[in-house]
């Protein structure tokens, strides 16, 4: 017999309840799920990486539409439950009613808003859900100012994320040091220093008096008279349990909804779980105890005995580069003793608090590897008397073990907790591995270890390595190449948000696994950097593939081909004479007309390249970039100037486009065609961008291909004006430059993003189009240059020749 279960709130706690129910008792409950947020369950604690740009929302979704459908959950997302009618056992939402046999309240918390004037102004946000996060991202223009009120876990994660996005951030904190609930003053100081080093201003002992502004927040005023300018104000001063529904329904409510050990409220049909509950006078604000509650709720619903017993929790701050860990109680007190270790050079601080030979608190800053071990000692109340002298050095120094990094994990007892979020101990992971979970994904699926905040992933992998021995293959992630686990899109995003401006900076900050990258990631990084920072980044020639480094195509025998630009395929007798002379002078074995309407001089020796370029430059010709991931050719037909069917000057437009676009670097090569009428003699409809002239103007189509794949272009836009055709073309190319994956031709990028989205940005949204054109022009101010002219001067030629010639030397 199925029971009707209604769940209010699709958060971290209720999500876990449902997972247990469907696993333990599939088909027993017919679930209706309400959520005030317009989406289902996601990993709320990963909002900070989304804010900083290190993850996307899609990556933190825990239950997608598919999952709900598979388990027959009726979802009402974006719907507030407004009332519970306990007599009739119905919940009311948006005028509709749903009846229940059992009800679970999992409404979480609401952010606390300090009652100061100006708190309702636009530009003031809290930090609780995806909408808040998106509002912050939207406001985070580089250089804009943000004030974060609250220097606790949430406030600091918000501050770090906004700083990574280029904002000027100030944190106002009421107390004397940051995160005073988790850290002692020394660790708080180290943390403050680390944050200040990232350009975040910290104002401790600051009490907010008012938020100033006319139509939106403009500044924050403190009691001491200080004001800080603010385009964005984030309030992260605390939370209070969301209990309104329960109070209205007459349930017993203290600070949270009162529950007993089985998680049942004062009404036997109603359970509550998560941050909205109060158990034994205690509230809960971290996921670990909520997951324990969830297990109990699932058991109670199935009529199985279970009791919730709160355990100690440990805290980590999810700010990349700030390693801190705290657990237990570390306030100074009667009969308490401290053991402290400091290493200022490495910025390490460790403090253990001991009472009657038991470890009761630990604060670690800078090196948190031993955190889980200390936490285990605290939770178990282990008698540390015998270890006391070496305790602070961690498990690897106990029992004479060496300082091997694996030793720390090896030394952990089976009960030691590895995953704090999900309360998974080492023994459970070992058990899962021995039962057949051989990959990180499998261990995650079976034990949930490392599936929430992910900071213990490394530990889990170490446990796997210890258990599986040589059989353990390091997890393969879909990285750009073997040097990194980060994919192309992530690398690009991180280059932007972390303002990385050199290849070594990218490799350092994103944890490249090789010293100097490889032949596949280096050219990609070089492109991403020059596309992102056209003015700041200096092209790294040594990260270029040979053709781009030498501005000519290498041939099978090590000679090169030289292709001067013929704008729109048009040449002159003088140009042809100069080409002929050059071919003679440098003994060019073959002169060939290319498929791109120009002339190729094949078989030129490397040391002759600068000289032949100088000759061609002297006749007014520049590089045709027949070698580049950049603009190649703009193929044209004769058009209205000569052809009896021509409707517009296709040759002229082609030349104009080529002059606009030449020199630009793109993810892969870009070729254009402009035909004077639909007879299409320039084959425009198989190019990356093709323009067909018609009586009414120009039809622009994109995403054609005629190489390893063949594909007709798709219609993008029509315009009566040649100027607009040029703008749309430049905007399209700029968007491709900004979004395309390295070595993806335009058609691949269009297929990935969708032509409609692209059209919206380059055709329909005029402001955005203008911005794209402006960014393209900015980049072209650097790159619309002839590389041949740079290398042709006699002084620069030496490096194209051999360094030394020993062929005539004789041995003595």
């Amino acid at each position: 017999m199925t029971q009707k279960l209604v769940v209010i709130g699709a958060g971290m706690a209720s999500g876990r309840v449902l997972e247990h129910l469907f696993e333990d008792a599939p088909g027993t409950f017919e679930v209706t799920l309400f959520n005030a947020e317009a989406r289902g369950n996601y990993n709320r604690i990963m909002l900070s990486p989304v804010l900083s740009g290190e993850k996307t929302y899609e990556e933190i979704v825990t239950h997608d539409a598919d999952w709900y459908a598979r388990h027959g959950v009726t979802c009402h997302f974006g719907t507030h439950v407004t009332r519970i009618d306990r007599d009739r056992k119905v919940v009311v939402a948006g005028g509709a009613e749903v009846t229940y046999d059992r009800l679970v309240i999992a409404t979480g918390s609401a952010p606390f808003i300090i009652p100061v004037p100006g708190r309702d102004l636009p530009g003031v946000v809290s930090y609780r859900d995806l909408d808040d996060t998106n509002a912050m991202i939207a406001a985070a223009r580089p250089g804009a100012k943000a004030v974060v009120i609250g220097g606790g876990l949430l406030g600091l994660e918000a501050a770090a994320g906004l700083a990574l996005r280029g904002m000027e951030v100030t944190v106002i904190h009421l107390m004397g040091h940051l995160m005073e609930r988790q850290l002692d003053p020394a660790a708080g100081y180290l943390l403050q220093k680390a944050l200040e080093a990232r350009g975040i201003r910290i104002h401790c002992k600051g009490a907010t008096k008012a938020i100033l502004g006319q139509d939106r927040a403009e500044a924050v005023l403190l009691e001491d008279g200080t004001t800080y300018g603010a385009d964005l104000v984030v309030m992260a001063v605390g939370i209070r349990p969301e209990t309104r529904l329960a109070t209205d329904a007459g349930l017993e409510v203290g600070r949270g909804i009162t529950v007993d050990d089985t998680m049942v409220t004062s009404d036997p049909a109603i359970l509550a779980v998560g941050e909205c509950v109060e158990h034994d006078r205690q509230l809960f604000g971290l996921v670990a105890p909520l997951y324990d509650q969830a297990r109990v709720v699932a058991a109670t619903l199935q009529g199985k005995p279970a009791a919730f017993r709160p355990v100690q929790t440990a805290t980590k701050l999810k700010v990349t580069g700030c390693d801190l860990f705290s657990a237990g109680d570390f306030a100074e007190g009667e009969g308490r003793e401290d053991i402290v270790l400091r290493d200022p050079a490495r910025g390490i601080y460790k403090r253990l608090v001991i009472q009657q030979d038991r470890l009761i608190g630990a604060v670690l800053y800078g090196d948190t590897a031993d955190g889980p071990w200390f936490f285990g000692l605290i939770k178990d109340g282990t008698d540390i008397g015998p270890l006391r002298d070496t305790l602070i050095f961690g498990p690897s120094h106990q029992g004479g073990a060496t300082a091997d990094p694996m030793a720390a994990v090896a030394a952990l007892p089976p009960e030691a907790e590895i995953c704090g979020c999900n309360g998974v101990c080492k023994g459970r992971i070992v058990q899962a591995i021995e039962a057949g979970a051989q990959t990180l994904a499998a261990v995650r699926a079976v034990t949930k270890a490392s599936s929430s905040c992910g900071t213990c992933t490394g530990l889990v992998e170490q446990v796997m390595a210890l258990t599986l021995g040589p059989d353990f293959a390091a997890p393969v992630r879909q990285g750009m190449c073997g040097c990194t686990d980060q994919g192309h899109d992530d690398v690009r995003r991180l280059i932007r948000v972390k303002a990385l401006k050199s290849i070594p900076a990218v490799m350092q900050e994103l944890g490249w696994k090789t010293a100097g990258g490889c032949a596949s990631c280096r050219p990609a990084l070089n492109y991403y950097l020059l596309a992102e920072w056209p003015l700041d980044y200096r092209d790294d020639r040594q990260s270029r593939f040979v053709n781009e480094r030498n501005h000519a195509n290498i041939q099978k025998d090590g000679t090169y081909s030289v292709v001067p630009r013929m704008w729109g395929g048009v040449t002159t007798p003088d140009e042809l004479r100069a080409i002929a002379d050059a071919a003679d002078r440098y003994n060019v074995p073959m002169v060939k007309v290319t498929g791109g309407q120009r002339i190729d001089l094949l078989g030129v020796r490397k040391e002759d390249l600068p000289a032949i370029w100088a000759d061609l430059n002297a006749a007014g010709m520049v590089s045709g970039h027949a070698y580049s991931k950049g603009l190649r050719t703009v193929k044209t037909c004769v058009g209205s100037e000569f052809c009896r069917f021509g409707t517009q000057d296709s040759t002229g437009l082609g030349i104009r486009l080529e002059k606009l676009l030449w020199g630009s670097w793109t993810p892969h090569k870009v070729k254009l065609g402009v035909s004077g009428c639909p007879r299409n003699c320039a084959e425009a409809t198989i190019k990356d961008i093709g323009i067909i002239c018609v009586d009414s103007g120009y039809q622009i189509s994109v995403a054609g291909a005629a190489g390893m794949e063949v594909k007709e272009t798709e219609f993008l836009a029509a315009t009566p004006s040649a100027d607009e055709a040029c703008d749309i073309t430049a905007a399209f190319i700029q968007l491709y430059r900004e979004q395309g994956q390295y070595l993806h031709r335009a058609f691949k990028w269009v297929a990935k993003v969708g032509l409609d989205k692209i059209r919206a940005q380059v055709v329909d949204d005029l402001e955005n189009r203008a911005a794209l054109v402006a960014r393209f022009e900015l980049s072209q101010s650097v790159y619309r240059q002839d590389p041949w002219a740079e290398h042709a001067p006699a002084a620069a030629r030496r490096q194209w020749a051999a360094l030394a010639d020993l062929s005539q030397e004789a041995a003595e």
Partner: protein, 110 residues
Amino acid sequence: MNWIDIGSLTDIPAQGARVVRTALGCVAVFRTADDQVFALEDRCPHKGGPLSEGIVHGAQVTCPLHAWVFDLNTGQAQGADEGAVATFSARVVAGRVQLDATRLVRRSAA
């Protein structure tokens, strides 16, 4: 050993190479990011590609023609590819690059 001066370290771009002509064919002299130098035969065993034009990463180079990777220390092809190029002794002394000419210069008797 018969060390011959072939040029200044700065004549070779870091993460790049220059070529030295010898009676035995071209030798590619590589300079890594950390200023080590290596001298290898400039002919890929696959189809003769000029290794001096490859991308240098760590102490390895990727052939510009079909992307075989070679260890600069040993001249051995890496990964699944089989083959090797000859290596020659090279060193840097006071900013100058020197090659051991014993095997490189023409035998006067020959």
